[in-house]
């Protein structure tokens, strides 16, 4: 593990530093933030000062505090959604690959149709019907995103399912579930880990966009996408407040992308 880290290219190290920084902010949010999450402490859109490191937002809450708590809420939500989308996608993908037959046909057709629909539009429509709340948001985004995971998981598992050791396990009389857990999962892990990073980026951006459109996390809870929306009016007065949460979103995605690039590189080297 450490050996691998030492061999990492500079870009991946930058990425890791960026991720760790954001995670520290997110985990120790209550210790770092100087004020309370939703407390109004100053005037509207105050400038930077030693009292308010990044100024204040559209109703006078400390922006730095909101950023720190926003990191926590935004990342936790995106991570949870990705984890769920991943479990769904991998489960169905492995099922399709190991059972095959009509189950695979049905699953593939269903996911094809879901993929043919533009994700953002689909999500907007579903949320308009079921109403925008956190559980609805998580489930909707997770299901829509799991289609991409399914594609990859199925393709990778199909390659493994024809190997001799899977054949051997089948002849031993192991069930599908055992084969999925003990043969498919460990062997499919490297590409799946890289995919997890990619999916996280995508889900993270996607939820930020939804929040920006006013359909994600509802105020007064701090989250980066929503904070951009709340402060959007400031930009026309030459106040750069909305750029901080937007920049933070960009910062984390770039960080994750840099690390994922390195993972993909390792995964492709393993195949050779």
């Amino acid at each position: 593990m450490f050996k691998l880290l030492r061999q990492s290219p500079i870009s991946a190290r930058f990425g890791m530093i960026m991720i760790v920084l954001t995670l520290i902010l997110a985990i120790f949010a209550p210790l770092i933030a100087p004020y309370e999450e939703t407390k109004v402490v100053g005037d509207v859109w105050e400038e930077f000062s030693s009292k308010f490191y990044l100024g204040t937002d559209h109703i006078g809450r400390d922006l730095f505090t909101r950023m720190v708590y926003g990191a926590r809420n935004t990342i936790a939500l995106a991570f949870f959604t990705t984890a769920m989308s991943f479990s769904l996608g991998v489960l169905f993908g492995f099922l399709a690959a190991s059972v095959g037959g009509w189950l695979e046909q049905i699953l593939s057709r269903v996911f094809d149709i879901l993929m043919a629909f533009p994700t953002l539009i689909f999500c907007l429509m579903i949320l308009s019907i079921v109403g925008a709340s956190i559980p609805n948001l998580i489930i909707t985004v997770a299901i829509l995103d799991s289609t991409r995971v399914y594609r990859l998981a199925r393709a990778v598992a199909m390659d493994i399912a024809v190997m001799e050791f899977v054949e051997a396990a089948r002849l031993r009389g192991e069930g599908n579930w055992w084969i999925m857990r003990h043969e498919l999962l460990p062997n499919a892990l490297p590409p799946l880990v890289a995919e997890f990073g990619l999916r996280f980026c995508f889900v993270f951006l996607f939820i930020a966009s939804l929040s920006f459109l006013g359909l994600g996390i509802q105020p007064p809870t701090a989250d980066w996408g929503g904070m951009v929306r709340e402060n959007a009016g400031a930009i026309t007065f030459g106040i750069y407040t909305p750029l901080f949460p937007a920049g933070a979103i960009a910062f984390l995605t770039v960080g994750v992308n840099l690390v994922v690039d390195w993972f993909l590189h390792i995964a492709s080297r393993l195949e050779d």
């Binding site: 094809d112 149709i113 043919a116 629909f117 533009p118 953002l120 539009i121 689909f122 907007l124 429509m125 579903i126 949320l127 308009s128 019907i129 079921v130 980026c201 951006l205 930020a208 966009s209 920006f212 459109l213 006013g214 359909l215 996408g225 951009v228 959007a232 930009i235 026309t236 007065f237 030459g238 750069y240 909305p242 750029l243 937007a246 920049g247 979103i249 960009a250 995605t253 770039v254 992308n257 690039d261």
Partner: protein, 313 residues
């Protein structure tokens, strides 16, 4: 072959129209009650249901809805009871206008940059372009949008920060107004197309006939322009068409940032107002455009690359 692929798309569109329809069907409670609110009397609810033809069985209503949709009648908006079609046509034209402008800027720039990056690969120029495009892909659309607003409309005051256009404006004035949103979209699309072009050309550069051309002593630029580029057209055309599909959908956020009167903005508004006829109609239009642009992408790459015609879809 192409017919088969087209048929698959048509079936997908049908299934999606069904999903959209059922989606509103399974709405907890009833559309009539949701819209009229708690205080509505049973009589008003019943009258409203009759007006929306909610009292008919779902299958009949689905066919009627689909038939009306094909004929361009999308029903009336719940919010202001104006015909939906009226609002949508103009806005959809605006959305297409914005997307078309962006793609018109993006394609030449992206292909040129991609060729240059492939030509000078592994030099500083190539790495700089790769880094910049990778970060553009990672940025959320609104981040780029606000940076552009910050620079061009606040600091230098050259371009307006709100892209509100109306029918009476001339084409030049319209283009000037939508330049910032178009640039936002362009920067993202350019990044995607450029990366794909570079990868495709580098892929082709590894083949034997390029080596042959090199051994003949041809100049590198000539090799790339005449030998490598035509053979990498198929993936490039494909990525361009896929990006057009992305654009039509990706405009939603950019439209909201710049308050541009496009279909995306209408959809977001309708979603928050729970104006279902508008949501249904604009969602379906988006879906159809998206699916057919993807179909177009596949057909184009089949035409550009004869090898693809033999494989099964």
């Amino acid at each position: 072959m192409i017919l088969k692929r087209t048929g698959a798309s048509v079936i997908t569109v049908f299934i999606i129209s069904l999903i959209i329809f059922i989606g509103v069907e399974v709405l907890p409670g009833d559309v009539a009650e949701t819209v009229l609110g708690q205080s509505a009397t049973p009589e008003t609810v019943a009258a409203f249901r009759r007006e929306l033809k909610l009292d008919l069985p779902p299958a009949t209503r689905y066919i009627a809805w689909l038939k009306a949709f094909v004929q361009g009648d999308f029903g009336n908006s719940l919010a202001n009871s104006r015909p939906v079609a009226q609002q949508i046509t103009w806005r959809f034209a605006n959305t297409l206008f914005l997307a078309a402008t962006s793609i018109a800027i993006a394609v030449p720039v992206a292909v040129l940059l991609g060729i240059l990056a492939a030509l000078y690969r592994n030099t500083f120029f190539d790495k700089a372009i790769s880094a910049i495009t990778l970060s553009f892909i990672s940025f959320p659309e609104f981040f780029i949008a606000y940076i552009l607003i910050g620079i061009f409309s606040v600091k230098y005051n050259i371009f307006p920060s709100l892209a509100s256009i109306d029918q009476s404006m001339s084409l030049g004035a319209k283009l000037y107004t939508i330049l910032l949103p178009a640039l936002t979209l362009t920067s993202i699309v350019t990044a995607h197309i450029m990366r794909q072009t570079r990868a495709a050309i580098i892929n082709v550069l590894a083949s034997a006939y390029i080596e042959m051309a090199e051994l003949k002593g041809l100049r590198r630029l000539r090799i790339i322009a005449l030998h490598a580029f035509p053979n990498s057209l198929s993936p490039v055309i494909n990525v361009i068409a896929v990006n057009m599909a992305y654009l039509v959908v990706g405009v939603v956020i950019v439209e909201v940032v710049f308050v541009y009167p496009g279909l995306g903005q209408l959809l977001v508004d309708a979603v928050s107002k729970r104006d279902f006829p508008v949501v249904q109609a604009s969602g379906l239009i988006f879906a159809i455009t998206y699916i057919f642009l993807n179909l177009f992408a596949d057909v184009m790459s089949m035409l550009a690359n004869p090898k693809l015609r033999k494989t099964q879809v």
